[in-house]
């Protein structure tokens, strides 16, 4: 056995992959399977799962209610579809804004001197030393009615003698968007920086030498060569934003409910794990579909130059 292991590369590989495989099997594959089973079940009046096979949870999610007002056999309720749509569009908007903010910054860092580059990267990473939730609470302190931003604005208004009423910023979709953008910005900056930093300076010189000005060099050389970073960053941002519920919980309150909040509430408040499971699976399928089409078009962020 040991002799064979010493000779066989594939056996060595399998052995190395074993711990992770077990981990994923116990903590991902099996729970996922259980979720699937539960999602087809029914909720008992006391909040337990009755195992059966019904699509009720899914039809309810997609808006086709079974308990309709009297006289109607079926009716459409857009409540959950709206939540799904809101989550999808928020994830999309967040990703677009994050790219727009991260790209210029990553470009700036990549073109700085090596010494300053490290300092800037360090500064990008510093917020990650603090807990995610605490960072979101910090935004609450900034955005609330008596928060830092309103105090500053009030002070400014006072200075110029302009009448000022504190802005209602907290518990709005905008607050959730700001929080999301803030939380996920580093995950876009780093991959874009990495692919920009790899571009040899002589390529910029070659483009200039061949007659391209700075703008055309960017469009034809810099941007295509840094696309792997943008793609990797998009995957790193879009997927978690689709599922997260902390940001919307703290900054959106009851006003901005995302699919993440919906799932959380089904398990904790409403005590309906069957509906929560169905929502989880719908979220997963939606994310997979978007990611599938995205990566089919742009790849997984691997080197586009690979032969």
């Amino acid at each position: 056995m040991l002799q064979r292991l010493r000779e066989s590369k594939s056996m060595q590989g399998a052995l190395l992959a074993l711990p992770t495989t077990l981990w994923l099997l116990v903590l991902l594959i099996i729970p996922l399977f259980l979720t699937l089973v539960v999602s087809f079940g029914q909720r008992s009046p006391d909040g337990n799962v009755i195992y059966s096979f019904t699509l009720d949870n899914y039809t309810r999610l997609l808006g086709y209610n079974t308990d309709c007002p009297a006289g109607q056999s079926s009716c459409f309720d857009p409540l959950y579809v709206n939540i799904l749509w809101r989550s999808l569009s928020l994830a999309f908007n967040t990703t677009v804004i994050v790219i727009t903010l991260a790209y210029p910054l990553a470009y700036f860092i990549a073109r700085a001197t090596p010494k300053r580059r490290n300092l800037f990267l360090f500064m990008v990473l510093i917020p990650l030393w603090t807990n995610f939730v605490i960072r979101v609470y910090a935004w609450m302190m900034l955005l609330r009615k008596e928060g830092a931003i309103n105090i500053a604005l009030g002070w400014l208004a006072n200075l110029f003698n302009i009448p000022f009423a504190p802005l209602e910023m907290l518990y709005t979709p905008g607050a959730v968007l700001v929080g999301m953008v803030y939380e996920f910005l580093p995950f876009m900056i780093l991959p874009i920086y990495t692919s920009l930093e790899k571009i040899d300076n002589s390529l910029y010189e070659a483009a200039a030498d061949l007659g391209a000005n700075a703008f055309r060099t960017f469009l034809r050389v810099t941007l295509p060569l840094s696309m792997p970073g943008v793609v990797a960053g998009t995957i790193l941002v879009f997927i978690p934003v689709m599922g997260t519920f902390i940001v919307s919980d703290i900054l959106g309150g009851r006003q901005v409910i995302l699919v993440g909040n919906l799932i959380q509430r089904q398990f904790l408040d409403a005590r309906d794990p069957t509906f929560g499971s169905a929502a989880s699976l719908i979220l997963m399928v939606m994310t997979l579909i978007v990611t599938y089409f995205y990566t089919r078009k742009f790849g997984f962020g691997e080197e586009i130059v690979s032969a």
Partner: protein, 371 residues
């Protein structure tokens, strides 16, 4: 052609600040005139200022002082994309995300050339460098030599007045390098455009160039034809850098226009040679230089001027030549002898401690200023 010179550097200085904060002159008052249609090389070891000079012609760097002229026009701070020169980069700098065709077409697209014309001109450029059929490959799918050709085609397709080449063959193996040297030279003659070629390889420079600027420490040491550089080096640096040379220190005893007699204290003898500078005077400390292949080993016994008895320390057979290292009153000399006769007899080689006679002919001996 508006000017006699394709490129001219007038008293150009380029200073850099090192990361430690010191100021260094990478190029230190360089003046050179590169003629139209010339194959011009800048030769020197790393840090001699050759690449910086080339980059100033390309427009990647701007001179701190002095001026670069292209076709008689002062370049000032003209950006690279507005100069009628193109560069072949040391690392080729090919766009990895583009095909060979797209790489070569890039420069024409930037000029706004019509698509049909681009197709035609790219085709011709690739034909010129023998890459027809490779249009759709990516650079990574090509060998080093082929990538190098793409880089040449990409620059030449723009029909520049001047092609700048920054150690373009440095990454290739020796055999391929020799082939490419001949090809580039043939290409230059066929196109009749000016090539400015940066290299640290003296053989490459001697093989290809019409004229060479030998550079060191940011300055031009000598600017002349390959033959002049090798046969009439102006100073010890050039004599030492190009080829090999034996150097002896001495003092001028008498000097005329064509000949100087130099007393060599180490040998306690006089050597006659050709003075390489006009301003040498009697009593001046000088260096006598003689190339290993120009020392002649003669039959012992002959008693003429310029013959010295030496002891063989070591001899190395290298196929075409035999290198003999001899000692002459404590001075080590290298002598190169061509193996003109095919023989296996080891006694025909020079043995250790054998005494031989060396002849220094005045016309083979150069008297250089001490710098």
């Amino acid at each position: 052609m508006t000017s006699e010179f394709a490129v001219e550097l007038r008293d150009v200085v380029k200073r850099f600040i090192t990361p430690e904060g010191n100021e260094i002159a990478a190029v230190d008052h360089v003046t050179m005139q590169i003629k139209n249609g010339e194959f011009f090389s800048m030769l020197g070891s790393s840090g001699c200022g050759k690449t910086t000079s080339l980059r100033m012609i390309a427009g990647f760097e701007w001179p701190t002082e002095g001026e670069v002229y292209i076709e008689g026009k002062a370049m000032g701070h003209t950006p690279p994309y507005q100069r009628k020169v193109n560069t072949v980069f040391q690392s080729y700098a090919l766009f990895q995300h583009m095909t060979v065709f797209q790489n070569v077409a890039f420069g024409l697209e930037m000029e706004g050339v019509k698509e049909s014309e681009i197709k035609q001109r790219v085709g011709r450029a690739l034909e010129m460098v023998q890459l027809t059929g490779m249009e759709r490959r990516k650079p990574k799918q090509l060998s080093g030599g082929q990538q190098q050709r793409v880089a040449v085609a990409r620059a030449l397709v723009k029909t520049p007045e001047v092609l700048l080449l920054d150690e373009p063959l440095g990454a290739l193996d020796l055999k391929l390098r020799k082939e490419m040297q001949l090809e580039l030279k043939a290409l230059q003659q066929q196109l009749g455009i000016t090539f400015i070629y940066v290299t640290h390889d003296q053989e490459e420079a001697l093989t290809m160039s019409d004229r060479i600027a030998v550079m060191s420490k940011g300055r031009v040491q000598q600017l002349a034809t390959p033959v002049e550089i090798y046969e009439r080096p102006v100073n010890k640096f050039v004599a030492d850098f190009i080829g090999e040379s034996n150097f002896l220190e001495g003092k001028i005893k008498s000097i005329s226009k064509d000949e100087a007699v130099v007393h060599i204290p180490a040998l306690n003898a006089d050597i006659r040679g050709m003075p390489m500078a006009r301003d040498m005077v009697n009593g001046e400390e000088v260096i006598v230089s003689i190339r290993p292949e120009k020392v002649r080993i003669v039959e012992s016994g002959a008693k003429t001027d310029g013959i010295f008895k030496a002891r063989v320390m070591n001899s190395v057979y290298i196929g075409s030549d035999t290198h003999v290292y001899a000692e002459l009153d404590g001075v080590r000399l290298k002598v190169m002898e061509q193996n003109r006769i095919s023989r296996l007899d080891p006694s025909s080689f020079y043995n250790k401690d054998q005494v031989i006679s060396l002849l220094f002919l005045p016309e083979n001996t150069l008297v250089l200023k001490k710098d």
